[in-house]
Symmetry: C2
């Protein structure tokens, strides 16, 4: 039995997220359909991250088992020829027998793109949140770094989230400024649902001076969703990379 | 009467080109529809370049006359709010009374993007031609410069093109190489239908060593469509800029 690992990119705009669900187009659903047709056997994919509706990826990872002998390069080109152009198989590789894209993941990197402009090129409009008005960027950058370390992120996920442990370790959390473009880059061992987008919504509230950078500690300590800022739109978020043992880039 | 000039960007993938036609979605058709609704009067747009189906733009220019008093910024934001996201109004401006986007144009710049890879990010896949196999890039670069100057481009437009004068002046024609990316940049006073794409198809044939760079002169002199290479796919082509007197960038 082979265990095949794929690195996948997608523009999530047209999809109801990664995870398969009835009656809605999903990345996993489209991929499993095309894989099943090519391999002529039912295929079930395990994806590293369940990206939400409208979220993009340049480095999603998924794996599946097969007895099929198709060469890796032929699998990639066959899939890319049959997939819609907003889903691309970037790499295929043979993985160790026990490899599981989700449970073996040791870290993920996300980027969230904001542009301070009235309008942005149609080439990137679907992947950007536009920001208008005054913005205190140094305060946002200060606030961003306060998420680094191990924290309880109860304030940054939906109140209904049923998980015993909402503690997550964040390796890097920073704002990069380049002209009218602000990118929030975050790397961590794992993320709760809506967590990155709620951090971004909170950072924008800091930029608007509705929240102070020094308030991040008390917002985390409150363990109350109402203490943080709003959840930023999905469109700005991209899953850049999934990290595994011995593979940190 | 105001004469309003707009700079427009679009990802052309979903459209049957710029020019309005019955039963097919076109950039001009969508824009006139939204303008007519916002201004509550019939609007007819004059566009600088009739881009073909699937061709993109970051600097298309169009103008229209109106007696409406809507402010420029409100027109832009109102249009962008109502337009599909793959068409964006980048600028609005008051133009001189006689300004006509097509007949006043003194030059245009196009770019054609080729990537030497098996697969490209889903974010730019719709705007790129993928190239596989060996490619003599210096020969392509040499061939590209041979289009500069004033030439009869009969060999580079469809045989059925009914125009008395197929002579056009090209200011700049060059290949830019950046890693696995090749960009063909061309600036000229005007272009025939399919001309840029047929130049690109011919440059790729030079890269494949099916045509020599030194053959460009005889292909131009042949004034026969069959002497040039194939018309490259629309997807790689973007109208970057339209130039007017006193505005050269």
């Amino acid at each position: 039995m082979r265990n095949i690992r794929m690195t996948i990119g997608y523009e999530g705009t047209r999809y109801a997220g990664w995870q398969i669900q009835p009656g809605a187009p999903t990345i996993q659903g489209v991929l499993e359909d095309r894989l099943t047709r090519i391999l002529q056997e039912p295929v079930r994919l395990a994806g590293a991250g369940r990206t939400d509706a409208g979220v993009h990826a340049l480095g999603q990872v998924a794996n599946f088992s097969t007895e099929c002998r198709i060469p890796l390069a032929g699998l990639r080109s066959g899939l890319n020829a049959r997939l819609p152009e907003d889903i691309r198989i970037l790499e295929t590789a043979e993985a160790e027998p026990g490899f599981h894209a989700r449970s073996w993941a040791r870290g993920k990197e996300y980027r969230y793109t904001m542009v301070r402009a009235e309008v942005v090129s149609p080439f990137e409009a679907p992947r950007v949140m536009l920001l208008h008005g005054a913005l205190d960027v140094p305060a946002m950058a200060d606030a961003a770094t306060r998420f680094e370390g191990r924290h309880d992120f109860t304030s940054f996920c939906p109140a209904a989230t049923e998980l015993d442990d909402k503690t997550r370790r964040i390796f890097t959390s920073r704002i990069e400024e380049d002209g009218d473009r602000l990118t929030y880059v975050v790397r961590g061992e794992g993320f709760l649902r809506h967590m990155v987008r709620t951090i971004v919504g909170t950072l924008v509230a800091v930029g608007r001076r509705r929240i102070g950078a020094a308030d991040i500690a008390s917002i985390l300590a409150a363990r109350d969703r109402r203490s943080a800022g709003p959840c930023a739109p999905a469109r700005g978020l991209t899953l850049m990379r999934v990290e595994y043992d011995g593979e940190r880039a």
